[in-house]
């Protein structure tokens, strides 16, 4: 096993353990017992939060910023694809021929999306005002990871550099805002449960509606 392979595996193990620790720490804050009578179904609210509630037509913020939304979606699809490619590389497998083109398209779109969001953060005054170094670092590491994954599909010789970068990314993930890959799900769940219980989600879901 190459040193870079081992580094990625160790970094992956670190990321998983650290994320689990973060989750446990958040859970340790305790749950809130609720005494008011529900008007709707929290489970239905959660289902809506992860489906229709994410759709562009359900969110004005998305409708007004379709380009950023598209870049974000491409970015995340790119991260997912690059992670899948890393796992294949660690297993010593080459991407099957029929997946090569989709993988290249997804990583290309992801890299373009990621770096365009990086530039947007850098040059848009409001967004710059919202940002701390972690925002730039997290974006840069992820975007570079996708770009190197794309490069690897053309030039397997860059595997060493790509895997080293992947190890750095995985080590950093729980430390900075990439942790939202965990907390997105817990927060979205809570949002759905909250508005579901109150009968706001799904729209028209109030038992008394």
């Amino acid at each position: 096993m190459h040193g870079t392979h081992l580094a990625v595996l160790l970094a992956l193990a670190w990321a998983v353990v650290a994320m689990a620790f973060l989750h446990r720490r958040a859970k340790a804050y305790g749950e809130r017992r609720l005494y008011s009578r529900p008007a709707g179904d929290p489970a239905a609210g959660v289902r809506y939060a992860f489906t229709g509630g994410l759709a562009p037509w359900a969110k004005e913020s998305v409708r007004m910023h379709l380009l950023s939304y598209g870049a974000g979606m491409a970015f995340h699809a790119g991260v997912g694809t690059a992670l899948a490619l890393v796992l294949m590389a660690l297993a010593g497998l080459d991407p099957p021929a029929f997946l090569l083109l989709p993988a290249r398209l997804l990583t290309l779109a992801g890299a373009v999306g990621g770096f365009s969001l990086f530039m947007k953060r850098l040059f848009k005054p409001d967004l710059r005002g919202l940002s701390c170094p972690d925002d730039y670092l997290s974006n840069f590491l992820s975007s570079l990871f996708i770009l190197l994954a794309l490069d690897w599909t053309f030039r397997p010789g860059v595997a060493g550099l790509w895997l080293a970068e992947a190890a750095v990314l995985l080590v950093y993930a729980p430390l900075g805002k990439i942790r939202h890959c965990l907390f997105f799900f817990t927060t979205r769940y809570q949002l759905g449960a909250f508005f579901g219980r109150r009968g706001t989600f799904p729209p028209g879901g109030n038992l008394h509606a």
Partner: protein, 443 residues
């Protein structure tokens, strides 16, 4: 303005133990959901356009993520490992005087806790839950704006937020009862006070007896037409408001809620009916049991649901031709987005007016009128309040309506100011006023 100086002098007088106390209270308000929210924001900034403050004054300070960041940066510094090890990298900051000043400005002065950013957030962070914890922390440091706190103090001392005396309240009800009898031509029409065992205890916003008695009379007329078995309380427990929702002192909020619970027990009523008031409904229906840490032994309903029931059951007959002017509907945030009462008022209006036009956007996507979150009670932020109401004013103008129906007396106050400021030339009414107008007696 003396209030400006007073709040600033309180900020200047803060000692280290005050900051520690604030942080302790902040921490005490956090549970697993909030811990998750505080780790979630990715600073994408897409929430900016969801906020009526930012839409009407697009500056960095008005972006919801910026307001949240002020709070999360303190959380990170104090409660996370990375915040302690590498504060510069992850944007962790100390809770000092400057940061406290920024918190006051953000969570009291630039947020009406409307929650529109929550449903538009990329992640789905319910920001008002975090801002309530921050307001509670500031409250523990003595930094609630004094006029907002005075409203709470009135409720605690007098049992209602406008310090209406029992004598004035009872006299007003008796006078309105005579008016109701004259209006209906029924000498038996009643506005009962302290009727033991009545099915319904009806609660109102003190603005009604004080400034808008016809609104209370309209509700009474609906009850009369439906033959409802109802009562008002003469003592504590007639006021539905609870500004504890806005100063975020849960102990005080609980004591105010207890007035309603005690009145229900005292009068032996089965259903607590909340008059047209967004935050009053949210407080009594949703937050009250949490503040008291106990489930109610009775049902809570909005009068909107009740009027919807009356129409469905045929208990009241209406003629929409009596409301011929075009009507639009404002969705109070605490009633609709946070309260889940979305459709009842629409079904009612469709039956009692001839032309009903929705504002756009509406329901859970509605814009706050700008008067929520206790903004109406905080004079120091009046200019921002009126400016932020520009979104609502524009919605009203685009609707082409001549009557704006708002099932919330706080919203009505704000809408009346917007009406003048933005020269909207509309009438502003409650749903009950529209129903009362449309009632066909003896049908």
């Amino acid at each position: 303005m003396p209030e400006l100086d007073e709040l600033e002098s309180r900020l200047e007088a803060l000692q280290e133990e005050d900051f520690q106390r604030g942080l302790q209270v902040f921490r005490s308000k956090l549970r697993a959901p909030e811990a998750s929210y505080l780790n979630s924001c990715i600073h994408c900034g897409l929430c900016a356009d969801s906020c009526h403050y930012h839409r009407t004054d697009p500056c960095l300070e008005n972006i919801p993520a910026r307001k949240l960041e002020l709070v999360t940066s303190v959380f990170r510094r104090r409660f996370t490992v990375m915040g302690r090890l590498a504060p510069g990298l992850v944007g962790a900051r100390t809770f000092d005087r400057e940061m406290t000043r920024a918190w006051v400005d953000a969570v009291f002065g630039r947020c009406s806790l409307c929650g529109r950013c929550s449903v538009n957030c990329t992640i789905g962070i319910p920001l008002p839950r975090i801002f309530r914890a921050a307001r509670a922390a500031l409250g523990a440091m003595g930094l609630v704006p004094s006029d907002l706190q005075a409203t709470v103090d009135n409720s605690l001392q007098y049992g209602n937020n406008m310090a209406v005396t029992k004598e004035d309240w009872v006299e007003t009800v008796q006078w309105l009862e005579e008016e109701l009898q004259m209006e209906t031509g029924d000498s038996q029409a009643r506005m009962p006070l302290d009727k033991q065992g009545a099915g319904i205890l009806f609660t109102v916003n003190p603005r009604e007896p004080k400034f808008f008695p016809l609104s209370l009379q309209a509700s009474a007329k609906v009850f009369w037409a439906a033959g409802e078995d109802w009562t008002l309380a003469s003592d504590c427990g007639w006021d539905l408001t609870n500004y504890g929702l806005f100063n975020c002192n849960d102990e005080q909020a609980g004591r105010i809620t207890q007035n309603l619970v005690d009145a229900m027990a005292r009068l032996g009523c089965r259903t607590l009916v909340i008059g047209e008031c967004g935050h009053g409904y949210g407080s009594a229906r949703w937050e009250g049991p949490e503040w008291l840490q106990a489930s109610y032994p009775f049902q809570v309903k909005s009068i909107l649901e009740l009027m919807d029931d009356y129409l469905r059951q045929g208990r009241i007959k209406v003629d929409p031709a009596r409301n011929a002017l075009p009507v639009t509907l404002h969705d109070p945030c605490n009633l609709v987005r946070h309260g889940g009462i979305c459709e009842a008022q629409r079904r009612v209006l469709h039956q009692v007016v001839t032309t009903f036009t929705e504002m756009t956007p509406n329901r859970e996507h509605n814009f706050c009128c700008g008067g929520g979150g206790g903004q109406l009670a905080m004079a120091r932020y009046k200019q921002r309040r009126i400016q932020s109401g520009g979104m609502k004013a524009e919605q009203i103008r685009r609707s082409g309506a001549k009557i704006v129906v708002a099932p919330c007396h706080n919203c009505i106050d704000q809408l009346m100011e917007l009406n003048k400021e933005y020269k909207l030339n509309v009438q502003i009414k409650t749903v009950a006023e529209m129903v009362a107008e449309a009632i066909v007696p003896n049908a």
